[in-house]
């Protein structure tokens, strides 16, 4: 499909101004026939006329032009609690997706064989089966703690490119940003390293679920499945069963939370994940619920937060560009900066590209750009 002028919107804008098509043609210095053809979808204005049309009718691009949506990036945010994703955030993420397209030819060929979870569902038994098989693939038993390093290889072998970023903890609304380029069949996952370790593990497991279920990309059910998959992968049934049994022996709410906390600490995951999985286990087995309330769990969790991933990886913070690039390549086994370096060197791309595509301040973009061209 080619680009077309949105004739309904243009006609409405003309009506609001009391203009005929003839007046519009005069204003644009084109023939009346040209305007007629645009509105019939049989022609499209030249760039300078398109700009004038937008300016005269005060219609932005989305209202003025019907552009093909095929191949557009599919984006999803992993929001921080109590933050809101606005249309501006989505537009910015879509822009980042469009800017990532020129980088794709510089990535290594994506693997053709990928892991998929067909018929994904949030049914407890299904989740346990899916996460159990995933743990087996990762070489983990059903009671072993899962570290985020275990997950890294799964991303690369499924055509996903991890982009670790330092977006800050407080001023940013995202923990992670998932950008799927459907035509290129590449997924970029921006992971904010300024995230608490226990949350970071959850978000990585969540992202992995999206990689396994591309047919649910951008859909609400995809988000629900990814949340449930992440918790079940980090704290499977065998662990939930043990935690439930032990917590039941405690006689108070505080005592039960203490048991759950110990499990959370041993597995380096959030108390809330443990709580959710124990609750799901009890529901699935038709067992009586624990006496601890969700609000009480949140209160305890908020008071006891672990270190940021960035604090664990780098000292001092912020890291020098070479250290940051090395961590991306070595710790996260990501081809992102190697591909970017190939692109910058062969194309002569400016530093502004990094600023926009990674959503980082100009000074950071310039430092990275200089390091990659060194």
């Amino acid at each position: 499909m080619h680009k077309l002028i949105h004739s309904e919107k243009v006609k409405r804008a003309l009506q609001e101004r009391g203009w005929s098509q003839k007046v519009l043609a005069e204003q644009l210095d084109v023939s009346g026939q040209a305007v007629t053809l645009w509105l019939k979808g049989e022609g499209f204005p030249r760039p300078d006329k398109l700009l004038k049309l937008a300016s005269l009718l005060q219609l932005n691009f989305a209202d003025l032009v019907q552009a093909p949506t095929q191949g557009q990036p599919v984006v999803a945010f992993r929001r921080k609690a109590a933050t809101k994703t606005t249309s501006a955030h989505i537009a910015q993420a879509m822009a980042m997706g469009a800017l990532l397209k020129p980088l794709v030819p510089f990535l290594p060929s994506a693997p053709v064989l990928r892991t998929l979870i067909p018929g994904a569902s949030t049914d407890y038994a299904f989740l346990q089966m899916a996460t159990g098989q995933t743990r087996t693939r990762l070489g983990l038993g059903d009671r072993a703690p899962l570290f985020y390093e275990h997950l890294i290889g799964e991303f690369a072998s499924n055509g996903a490119v991890i982009v670790p970023v330092l977006w800050g903890e407080r001023l940013n609304h995202r923990n992670a940003l998932h950008i799927l380029l459907p035509q290129e069949q590449v997924t970029f996952i921006f992971l904010n390293l300024d995230t608490r370790l226990e949350d970071f593990k959850f978000w990585m497991a969540h992202e992995l679920a999206h990689i396994y279920t591309p047919e649910l990309a951008g859909k609400e059910e995809g988000e629900d499945f990814a949340d449930a998959f992440a918790d079940a992968l980090l704290f499977p049934q065998a662990l939930a069963q043990a935690a439930y049994a032990e917590a039941r022996r405690a006689r108070s709410e505080a005592g039960q939370i203490k048991v759950l906390q110990r499990f959370a600490g041993e597995h380096g995951i959030s108390l809330f994940s443990v709580f959710c999985e124990v609750r799901r286990y009890a529901q699935a087995q038709a067992l009586p619920p624990l006496m601890c309330r969700e609000t009480a769990v949140h209160a305890v969790r908020t008071g006891q937060r672990g270190a940021l991933v960035s604090e664990q990886l780098f000292s001092p913070l912020p890291p020098a560009p070479d250290k940051y690039i090395a961590a991306t390549q070595n710790t996260f086994r990501s081809e992102f900066f190697a591909a970017l370096q190939r692109m910058l060197k062969s194309q002569g791309t400016g530093a502004g590209y990094l600023r926009q595509m990674m959503d980082i301040p100009l000074q950071d973009a310039m430092a990275l750009h200089a390091e990659l061209l060194r």
Partner: protein, 197 residues
């Protein structure tokens, strides 16, 4: 009057030495240099720029900018937003075109400046090669910073000594772009001489 709109880098490269920096008519065509609030915002958002250009917030410069800032009507703002969105969509549609030959894809602020150039109209002064490509796609007039300097020389606002001084400062600050470097021995060959063999 013909407005000549300076982008952030152009303002920072020239404003300290060419006084007054904005608001004064020059040349036979009645050019008037101006900047938008977007420049103010961009510098204030960037600790690096604030650190590198400490004179930017001195009263002499800040007062002059505020006094001569172009005010936009609501109607103009609406047209600018519409044009900005068309320009930015065109960048994103063909991002690869803007990632070669030293170019970067123009961002929203860049598109806002070019939109101003189209709506007002004004000549936009920028050394950003991505903006030059986009402007040429849409028939918007843009100058490089050195072209503005040349017009100022023709209008006798700057002399050879000042041009040498500006080039010297850009070189010392590591801010001499390839296009400025080339212009030294072409446009300003009378001052700097021809390119050495």
């Amino acid at each position: 009057l013909t407005l000549v709109l300076l982008d952030t880098n152009t303002y920072l490269r020239l404003a300290k030495r060419i006084r007054p920096a904005v608001g004064v008519k020059f040349g036979q065509k009645g050019y008037v240099r101006t900047i938008l609030k977007a420049v103010e915002d961009e510098v204030h958002r960037s600790p690096r720029l604030r650190h590198r250009y400490p004179w930017f917030d001195k009263a002499e410069f800040a007062d002059e900018r505020i006094a001569k800032q172009v005010r936009l009507s609501l109607d103009e703002k609406r047209s600018l937003e519409a044009v900005q969105s068309v320009l930015y969509a065109s960048v994103l549609e063909a991002a690869a075109r803007f990632t070669s030959g030293g170019r970067s894809p123009p961002g929203l602020t860049d598109c806002w400046l070019l939109a101003f150039g189209h709506v007002r109209p004004a000549i936009v002064v920028t050394d950003d090669l991505g903006m030059h490509l986009l402007a040429s796609d849409f028939g918007i007039t843009v100058w490089h910073g050195y072209e503005l300097l040349d017009k100022l020389r023709s209008a006798k606002v700057v002399d050879s000594a000042l041009i040498r001084e500006i080039y010297g400062a850009l070189e010392r600050n590591g801010d001499l772009t390839a296009t400025w470097r080339d212009a030294r021995h072409t446009l300003f060959a009378r001052i700097f001489g021809a390119e050495p063999e």
